[in-house]
């Protein structure tokens, strides 16, 4: 059995997989990784399955000690990382020996980074998923001293993936939805043309935005009853603040929703740093479907992007610890005969 022991951790770090499906009618939202592509990168690097779980970091990481030899991979938003005090690259497999210490610091770009182990983290499955959903009471806050077990490791050849260009997006695509008509045409036009800034009020539940067009007015006297909130819906609360509702949102609500972010752009949206400025591009339903298809192909195409890593001896500062001469022949073995 192997896995990682937590030496340091930030409270915003959680175990996440692809999330839960099918429980929205019981009040349970999907949860799951904020950046589905970022999660998939690590799974592909290690040869893990699409349902395997990773630790998701929000802006800051933690420190981990290998319980026994284990292969790990780092994906999603690139963060500073060190193995036993030496820098280690993002988006590649890393073989840890027992006792090795992996330190993950602040994000250099984007927000959500992922730490994977070969075979995935074996935390409890709740309603078909290992995703922590603290507001719903699923999973636990990760704690110092906790040991998280890894599944059966396949040990893949050392390999890496190229960085995607989905960080620092300037444009996020959205669709009008069934409640858009509660807002006047002028309000909608101003909202969709405005520059939106990511406010500090943000977490896995949602991201509050400020619009350059000012507070958003919905039709007066509005008293619609609560109904289901879809992933990516932008609700407008009484004070006129638009909030995009994400993985850990509540399942239902009564605030009118002006538009919905398309699924393909949810990862890039979640990766926007606080203070980022974006514009919305309103698209037709057919464009959103096409974008989803392209996004899925991109995830399915990840294995083709894998690059085998060849070790360069001149860059190994612990050269002596590598067994470089195994199986080398003297050349005179046959002479004895």
């Amino acid at each position: 059995m192997t896995g990682l022991e937590i030496l340091k951790i930030t409270p915003s770090a959680t175990v996440q997989d692809r999330g839960r499906v099918g429980f929205l009618r019981f009040g349970v939202t999907g949860g799951g990784a904020m950046d589905a592509y970022g999660l998939a990168e690590g799974q592909v690097l290690l040869g893990n399955g699409p349902d395997d779980a990773a630790i998701e970091f929000a802006e800051f990481g933690g420190e981990f000690r290998a319980i026994a030899p284990v292969q790990v991979a780092l994906s999603g938003a690139e963060m500073t990382a060190q193995l036993n005090g030496h820098p280690v690259a993002w988006r590649r497999t890393v073989a840890l020996s027992a006792g090795d210490v992996l330190n993950i610091g602040a994000a250099k770009t984007g927000v959500y980074g992922y730490l994977h182990v070969g075979g995935g983290f074996q935390t409890d499955v709740v309603l078909g998923s290992r995703s922590t959903h603290l507001r719903a009471g699923f999973g636990h806050v990760l704690a110092v001293g906790q040991k998280i077990t890894a599944g059966s490791d396949r040990i893949v050849q050392e390999r890496a993936l190229p960085a995607p260009n989905t960080f620092e997006s300037r444009e996020i695509r959205a669709m009008w939805g069934p409640q858009s008509h509660y807002f006047s045409e002028e309000t909608r036009a101003a909202f969709s043309a405005a520059t939106l800034e990511v406010l500090p009020a943000r977490d896995r539940m949602g991201i509050c935005l400020s619009s350059s067009a000012g507070k958003i007015k919905s039709a007066t006297g509005l008293s619609i009853a609560s109904d289901a909130i879809n992933l990516g819906d932008i609700q407008v609360t009484g004070d006129g603040t638009p909030t995009a509702l994400l993985a850990d949102r509540g399942s239902s609500g009564g605030y009118p929703r002006i538009a919905t972010l398309i699924t393909a752009d949810l990862g890039p949206f979640a990766q926007l740093r606080t203070g980022s400025k974006i514009g919305l591009r309103m698209v037709k339903r057919s464009d959103a479907v096409q974008a989803l298809d392209k996004f899925r192909r991109k995830i399915n195409g990840l294995p083709k992007l894998l690059m085998p890593l060849v070790r360069d001896p001149w860059r190994m500062d612990d050269l002596l610890s590598y067994n470089l001469v195994d199986g080398v022949l003297r050349g005179d073995e046959d002479d004895a005969n």
């Binding site: 009040g27 719903a136 069934p178 609560s226 879809n230 479907v289």
Partner: protein, 227 residues
Amino acid sequence: MGLLVEFGEIYHPSINNAVLAFDQAFAAGRPTGVIECVPTFRSVLIRFDPIELEFDALEGHVANLLDKNDWYGSDAPSGRKHWILPTVYGGARGKDLGEVADLMNMREDQVVDSHAEASLTVAMLGFSPGLAYLGQLPDVWQFSRRTKVTPSVPAGAVLVAVRQVVLPCTPIPTGWRQIGQTPFRSFDVSAKKPFLLSPGDQVQFEPVSETAFQAFEMSDFLRTSPP
């Protein structure tokens, strides 16, 4: 992607009845590519995979089904269960009972009687896992929620406002007033059937003593309930 089928804008038993009847009928012939359906007070959200199931095909299917029935006048969905939930009213388990009695201009025992006599329907589940919205209490229960939120009420709290009852399965912050608490838990993540109350189920609350509350065992209760 989602397709929203709306039956109205407000909560009204006939609108909600249409929602529940449509949800059940749609489930019976659910096209491939539908991920899940979410019935609420006034609408059914159909979540589907738009690559497996084209929007136009789903919309056509929904339009056909809508034409087949007078959903507002339809019978209550079949197979719904009738639950009688033991409840301790007032005291520490219902600290807002006095305030509610004042709002309703009634004595506390009259409030409890009115609440326990009502036959309620699970209008929807939402907000937090397994939390049930039940309706509809008589007119006298038409008072609004508090503007100030109570930071936490316990699982099983019996909460009231706007002629509705809210029954949370986990501790939640709320603006609703707590008049009692039931030891019944609709949601148990470790159970074979994690959610007991379903949209459309009938619920009645039964006043019990603190002793009965303390002695309550979910497993015993489920041997005889729903009857």
